[in-house]
């Protein structure tokens, strides 16, 4: 006989009170532990709010907590605050710095005030768990493990990973893409897009200069793997004796079908994200220049125009429509989007494949006209950045 107990979420207080009277001592103790943890969390929040130096809601203030290798966020200790001094702990400082870079990226590039657009505070928890080889966004904060030291390194060492996790927060506060099947893979892909853009923006890299790897620093030197994922070449980030070959598809013909369960990665969300990842890379490579300019703006606007159940086809259509709205119908940018999706096996609705092929030429190969469009686009983007900066100042001042 097999039974399965899954811990879903916080147990309601009335149930905890009932469990406190249970005949089984273990059950009583478990209920008591849960109640103590909850009470401690409430108390800690009240105490933290009373200290002026700590992060308060708004203004995207950063606070890093040290879990001291436990899995308890309420018991984590304050390690660095927005106005506090640099910490002695390198993981704390790395998380603090990259949260700041990501916050600045969204403010300056998309005029977005933090994760929620309203100055949400940025809380990061480092040294989570024992040999915890993961990082995740739990709906309110980012959590980072130290890695196991054998396969995975400290997760705070990767800017693309930290920006990826913050990207989940942005997606949650814009469309809330459901975390399963195609909407989940899009959710994952958007986080990779944000992760790559934040890294490239920080380094000042063009699409051509960037390596388009996500989590390059995640593996220990003993592991012969380039990164967790490659947006430029999904399916080619690693090929080792220990793990086998990177299974990410780069085309709809290779779409991975897995069950919508935890064992199935909620419908292969970390696998099929390779398809829209490749489409973004191709768009950026075709347009040329910086990924966070035209390509990033098109993807960001498409994300905002999506909903929680958006699938690949709908998202592709939206990026095409947004490219036309932002850069004119038939522009080099819109044609780059069209060609990119076609190359990964998704035809834009209402556009014939023949037309797509005929018009899909890399920007720059159409002679002077394209060069002129790109020059004008660059000027528009420069103006957009200025406006975004002014908007950001107005928001911060308000």
């Amino acid at each position: 006989m097999t039974s399965e107990f899954r811990h879903h979420c916080i147990v309601p207080p009335y149930l905890l009170e009932r469990l406190l009277k249970d005949d089984d001592g273990e059950v009583r103790q478990a209920a008591l532990n849960t109640m103590l943890t909850t009470a401690h969390l409430r108390g800690e929040r009240a105490v933290r709010a009373a200290f002026p130096g700590l992060a308060t809601p708004g203004n995207a203030r950063r606070t890093i907590y040290d879990c001291r290798n436990t899995t308890s966020l309420p018991f984590a200790v304050l390690a660095r605050s927005e106005d506090g001094p640099e910490a002695a702990d390198v993981s704390v400082n790395r998380a603090f710095d990259v949260l700041g870079k990501t916050r600045d990226f969204f403010q300056r590039v998309f005029a977005r005030n933090s994760i929620d657009g309203h100055g949400m505070r940025l809380d990061g928890y480092v040294h989570y768990g024992y040999e915890f080889a993961n990082a995740f966004w739990d709906g309110r904060q980012m959590v980072f493990g130290d890695g196991d030291g054998r396969v995975f390194s400290d997760l705070t060492g990767s800017i693309s990973v930290i920006a990826h996790e913050l990207g989940h927060g942005v997606t949650e506060h814009t469309t809330g893409l459901e975390y399963h099947n195609q909407s989940g893979a899009l959710n994952e892909s958007m986080s990779d897009v944000f992760g790559a853009m934040v890294e490239q923006w920080t380094l000042g890299q063009t699409a051509e200069q960037a390596d388009w790897l996500i989590g390059r620093e995640v593996f220990t030197p003993q592991i012969e793997a380039d990164a967790l994922r490659s947006m430029k070449a999904p399916g080619h980030a690693w090929n080792t004796e220990k793990f086998g070959k990177d299974p990410q598809p780069d085309h709809m013909s290779k779409y991975v079908n897995m069950p919508d369960t935890y064992e199935g990665d909620w419908g292969a969300v970390h696998y099929n994200s390779g398809i829209p990842n490749k489409a973004f890379y191709l768009t950026a490579a075709t347009i040329g220049g910086y990924s966070w300019e035209a390509p990033g703006l098109i993807w960001y606007e498409a994300l905002k125009a999506s909903n929680s159940e958006t699938r690949f086809q709908e998202f592709a259509d939206t990026t095409y429509r947004k490219a036309g709205e932002l850069y004119e119908t038939g522009s080099a940018e819109q044609m780059a989007v069209l060609g990119a999706w076609q190359e990964v096996g998704i035809s834009i609705t209402g556009v014939s494949a023949g037309l797509a092929r005929a018009r899909n030429r890399p920007a720059g190969k159409n002679g002077d006209a394209t060069a002129a469009v790109r020059a004008l686009t660059a000027q528009v983007q420069e103006l957009s950045r200025d406006v975004a900066t002014l908007k950001g100042r107005a928001t911060a001042g308000g």
């Binding site: 006989m1 107990f5 899954r6 811990h7 478990a30 308890s72 220990k242 086998g244």
Partner: protein
């Protein structure tokens, strides 16, 4: 008693999917370790059972891993599943013991 730990999902889901689960058999452990493992399992089972009655759907935190601990004893098998984003202290203690034990080996 045989205890099997499998981890799914997370930032590196495809990598983890290729790794075999970790298995610990109390028959192969020193008596004190076996007793400790049995105590941790006994504490984790009721905590998971108490939470299993919750009618709300599981919380799907992006990139959170799910840990599945299968306990086999006397022809009976129980599977405890908890996520990074929502883990009881008892389950966390059992998970840590298993990881420490596997790392030691």
């Amino acid at each position: 008693m045989k205890v099997t730990l499998a981890t799914h999902g997370g930032l590196a889901a495809p990598v983890l999917a290729s790794l075999p689960p970790d298995v610990v058999d109390t028959h192969a452990l020193p008596e004190s370790d076996a007793a400790e493992l049995s105590r941790l399992v006994a504490a984790a089972v009721p905590a998971s059972a108490a939470a299993a009655g919750n009618p709300e759907p599981p919380k799907r935190a992006p990139d959170a891993m799910s840990h599945s601990i299968t306990v086999e004893e006397g022809g009976h098998s129980s599977v405890l599943v908890q996520s990074d984003a929502d883990m009881s202290p008892e389950f966390a203690a059992l998970l840590r013991w298993l990881k420490e034990h596997v790392a030691r080996d």
